[in-house]
Symmetry: C2
């Protein structure tokens, strides 16, 4: 997605060789108008797929998932939570995931009633790095015996291998911008 790559080059800031900060439009400050362009692009990438539910994880995935929903005819969006709040009194599916940016393991949960074996799930997130969040979301959906139709990431950091692992496991993965490496403070996209 050319507009996204331009935006990453203009506003993204590499931190070392592992992290790219895009907090001016994606995951702290959000350009809501641009999120619709992203949603429309996801629709193109998963055009042929029937989707009954969009699954994401708090917090940065929510804006993207909600804006993507519009282009799929508004299926429900469900976001997994990083801890069970005390209002979640009913059954939930649970799995562990390591957060790369927060340097901590988290419990990821989702109420059982919001995913069923009839669901065809599109998983959406902002980043695909080591794949911890994506695998955790797949795990939750699979506990419910739902079908995972695809995994969409706004930015894939290819060098961290999560996308490769997901594809090797048979998931249909589409990333709107794929970063091959961060070298000498420069972002290098995959051609």
């Amino acid at each position: 997605m050319e507009a996204l790559k331009k935006r990453i080059l203009a506003e993204g800031r590499p931190v070392g060789t592992d992290v790219i900060k895009v907090d001016s439009f994606l995951n702290h400050q959000i350009d809501a108008e641009f999120m619709y362009e992203i949603g429309e692009e996801f629709k193109k990438r998963f055009e042929s797929k029937e989707i009954t539910k969009i699954l994401t994880i708090e917090a940065s995935g929510i804006a993207i998932a909600v804006c993507t929903a519009k282009f799929f005819g508004y299926p429900p969006v469900v976001f997994a939570k990083k801890a069970a709040p005390n209002t979640m009194v009913e059954g939930f599916y649970s799995t562990g995931a390591q957060s790369f940016t927060k340097d901590a393991a988290a419990q990821i949960v989702i109420a059982k009633k919001f995913i069923s074996k009839e669901d065809k799930i599109l998983i959406i997130d902002d980043f695909l790095a080591y794949g911890e969040a994506a695998f955790a979301l797949c795990n939750l959906a699979e506990q419910a015996k739902a079908q995972i139709v695809g995994v969409g990431a706004v930015i894939e950091k290819e060098f961290q291998g999560g996308g490769k692992r997901l594809r090797e496991n048979g998931y249909f993965v589409k990333s709107l911008a794929i970063i091959e490496k961060i070298e000498d403070g420069k972002i290098v996209f995959k051609e």
Copy 2:
């Protein structure tokens, strides 16, 4: 907002006399189409106000804020974070807030670069209960010397007093549905 009240009555489930669960459309599963109706209603409630930025807090406020942005001509949405991730290497404003549903005190942070004294801020959140999150967001915006134009909540639980405290402190508060009390498992709206 009548459509919201109907939805709360149809799907909201009281837990004791303090909590009302609306996780089927607002804060776990999200009805994105309905979020636009909510955003449009916020536009009506803050019609006369000039807004340069919408401020909310992760995670449940994000979908609402993003959908509200559309009706104000897409000002940037900024969501405060409940802890500073290790990618937040620059200066941030910070304040404490008690989470009602998670029974824990949290540090709420926002990068300094995303709010300035030129900003006219609309604060948006899903619930207004004791007002802890709203006051924390006001505090962050005021640290940046920004002007707080209004505070909008989807659901206000009047009996927990946060709305009253905010109004007494001079904030312009609008809630789309105001719950007077939860009694014998029934939700009573304020007339």
